[in-house]
């Protein structure tokens, strides 16, 4: 029972069920121009992607069952790297939370953490920690809910851009446009353990980019070659930066989906969704999810109740079907019964009279059976009895047991009788029970005692009619 409850209440399990197996997912991102959203829909013919307009006017149409994922911009969360001793996965979140509070001096409540493992050492694990204020997250999620989108996962942008860079191994770094006033630059770490993500205001794009290029060059072995920079969204560079070549990530990797895009500002969402495999997968969602605990609890409870309601519905439907099937069968029986009853009403009295006549005939036959048995037994005895044997007592009782008592001239003669009687068609189980020499006044003689049974059909009187 404890195990079942544990499984039912496992957070990761709740997320997995919510996100995997669904055919739709909606990916949202806040920007200064408002909300941007892309809907991923898995059809039989393939993946369908379309822009979704999130505003109060079409809120009712968005209240769908698809899980919503909020892509959190870099400016809304911190990233820290922490190394903690190896521990049970359930304890890792608590340990990381305590470490983060100690290091950053943040208050215990009001902080939401997500993490991804980046390196495994002997005795310890390194994690990339994402920290965001619950108040900020609740505000964003609440705003989306009021617009008709239920958010199941708040995904730090670092996780999404990491997935995009991993999907494009030819790129050295990535520049993503978040709306029109902010950019995010993604650079592989020099130790190869992950990516550094920096938020760059639009006004400082070139300077920020130059700094990122410097970092990126540290992580590549051929320092003098041109860096290949992937661009997502409308990136407007103020001038040329030497030693860089640019490539549109969508056009380079997902040209077909890129062609469907009506607004280049949605390119980051599309690339993120494609790289992470929406709606089929949920890479890193359970641990990196920054959804506030209060909302998570509400979702979890809602999911649990949905499961219980589904179970109850299944049980009810199953039992109702069973009851219905039984009632239908009973009704069919009753119809058949009524049909038979009408036939019985037609032939019942005649048939029953004949039945009683048959019964009376049986009685009459049984009455005359005893006479036949008597004559048959006398016939059999006359036929099989050898010279030198006489009977002093012949008995046939009402149960069909035959007993013969008699005398013989020699001891061998009584031993012949059972076999001979057994061969007759009317007797069975004939046994010589006793044969002995008895002294009489005039000498001695052999006395014997034989038992047998009338055959069953004769005993029962059940043969013929």
């Amino acid at each position: 029972m404890e195990d079942i409850l544990g499984r039912l209440m496992n957070f990761a399990s709740v997320w997995s069920v919510r996100l995997t197996g669904t055919k739709q997912a909606i990916l949202c991102q806040p920007s200064q121009a408002g909300w941007r959203a892309i809907s991923f829909n898995r059809l039989k013919s393939g993946l369908s992607v379309q822009s979704v307009s999130i505003d109060p006017k079409n809120a009712s149409t968005l209240k769908l069952s698809q899980p919503g994922v909020l892509l959190l911009p870099r400016s809304h969360y911190f990233i820290r790297r922490l190394t903690v001793p190896k521990a049970d996965p359930d304890q890792t979140r608590t340990m990381l939370r305590l470490e983060a509070q100690g290091l950053l001096g943040l208050e215990q409540n009001g902080l939401e953490i997500g993490y991804l493992p980046v390196a495994e050492n002997a005795g310890s694990n390194s994690f990339e920690l994402y920290l965001a204020r619950q108040s900020v997250l609740e505000k964003l999620v609440g705003e989306l809910r009021s617009l008709g989108v239920t958010i199941d996962c708040v995904l730090p942008s670092a996780v999404a851009w990491g997935a995009v860079l991993r999907a494009c191994p030819n790129l050295d770094m990535l520049v993503v446009a978040i709306g029109s006033s902010e950019y995010e630059a993604v650079v592989p770490m020099s130790d190869g353990s992950g990516f550094a993500v920096r938020a760059i205001p639009a006004s400082q794009l070139n300077a920020g980019l130059a700094e990122c290029v410097r970092l990126a060059r540290q992580s590549i072995s051929q320092a003098d070659r041109a860096l290949k920079v992937g661009l997502l969204g409308p990136v407007e560079l103020g001038g040329n930066i030497a030693g860089l070549t640019f490539e549109d990530v969508l056009v380079g990797r997902w040209p077909e989906q890129s062609a469907c895009l009506s607004d280049q500002a949605e390119a980051p969402l599309l690339a993120c969704g494609l790289a992470m495999g929406y709606p089929d997968q949920q890479v890193g969602l359970s641990d990196a999810n920054l959804l506030p605990a209060r909302i998570r609890r509400g979702l979890q409870i809602r999911t649990l109740w949905q499961r219980l309601a589904a179970s109850a519905a299944l049980v009810a439907v199953g039992l109702a079907l069973a009851g219905g099937a039984l009632n239908l069968s009973a009704r069919a029986h009753e119809r058949e019964l009524a049909n038979i009853q009408s036939q019985l009403d037609g032939i019942g009295s005649t048939g029953r009279v004949i039945g009683r006549q048959i019964q009376q005939l049986r009685l009459a036959r049984q009455a005359t059976e005893g006479t036949r048995n008597f004559l048959m037994l006398l016939d059999d005895l006359e036929a099989v009895t050898p010279k030198g044997i006489s009977y002093s007592r012949v008995e046939l009782d009402s149960a069909g047991a035959v007993s013969l008592q008699g005398q013989a001239d020699s001891l061998s003669l009584p031993f012949l009788l059972p076999q001979r009687l057994q061969r007759r068609p009317n007797l069975e189980q004939v046994l010589l029970r006793d044969a002995a020499q008895v002294k009489r006044s005039g000498g001695s003689e052999i006395e014997f005692y034989i038992e047998g049974l009338l055959k069953r059909e004769r005993r029962d009187g059940s043969y013929g009619i």
Binding site: L5, L8, M9, A293, Q300, I301, L304, W305, L308, A312, V315, A316, L319, A320, G323, G324, L326, N327, S329, A330, H333, E336, L337, I340, Q341, Q343, L344, I347, G348, T350, G351, R352, V353, I354, G355, R356, Q357, I358, Q360, L361, L363, A364, A367, T368, G370, T371, N373, F374, L375, L378, S390, Y391, S392, R393, V394, E395, L396, D397, S398, I465
Partner: protein, 197 residues
């Protein structure tokens, strides 16, 4: 007070599971079990009626044969008499058959009358003495009369020094009730229903 999400969930899960179990129990109790009982009783009734219908059909199939055989039963089989009269009738027949077969009737004892819905059975135990062929003749005479008379067991014992046999017979007479030879129902009289001999 520290609120533990897992405890709250556990309570809700337990509540939910109890709800599901209660629903299942209620539906089983008030829907499935009554349906099952109805199904069982209707199936059982149907099987009984099918057997009865088959029996009646087989009866009707042999109606002509049965009617012929039934009409050939002796008229005395339906004679309505009280038990003393019936036993007396049987004993008179026994004496008459013994006399005509040159047998001496050593002993005769009536046994309790057995009553069944369709018939009554009268029994007498008699002891006769004579030669074997006379005994066979007696049996032939007593069982070939107007009444339904038969033997329900016998003992033959040779008598010492003479060529005689002592025979003990349990003689049975059956009186049918309920249907006459034409197959119509007869009303038993008050005395007929008495079980006392």
């Amino acid at each position: 007070m520290v609120f533990d999400i897992r405890d709250d969930c556990r309570r809700q899960v337990i509540l939910g599971l109890m709800g599901v179990f209660l629903l299942a129990f209620g539906m089983t109790q008030w829907l499935v079990l009554p349906s099952w009982d109805r199904f069982k009783s209707s199936r059982s009734a149907l099987e009984d009626r099918q057997v009865e219908l088959a029996r009646l059909r087989s009866n009707i199939a042999v109606a002509a044969q049965v009617g012929k055989a039934h009409a050939s039963l002796p008229a005395q089989a339906w004679r309505v008499q009280d038990d003393e009269e019936a036993l007396s009738y049987l004993l008179v027949n026994v004496e008459s058959a013994a006399r005509s077969s040159d047998l001496s009737l050593v002993n005769a004892r009536p046994l309790p009358v057995k009553t069944e819905p369709d018939h009554r059975t009268y029994r007498v135990r008699i002891v006769l003495s004579g030669r074997l062929e006379q005994i066979v003749r007696f049996v032939d005479r007593i069982t070939s009369g107007d009444a339904l008379v038969g033997l329900d067991g016998f003992t033959l014992r040779g008598e010492q020094g003479e060529n005689k046999t002592e025979a003990t017979f349990e003689i049975v007479m059956i009186r049918l009730r309920g249907l006459d030879r034409a197959g119509s129902t007869t009303q038993p009289t008050a005395t007929e229903d008495s079980d006392e001999p």
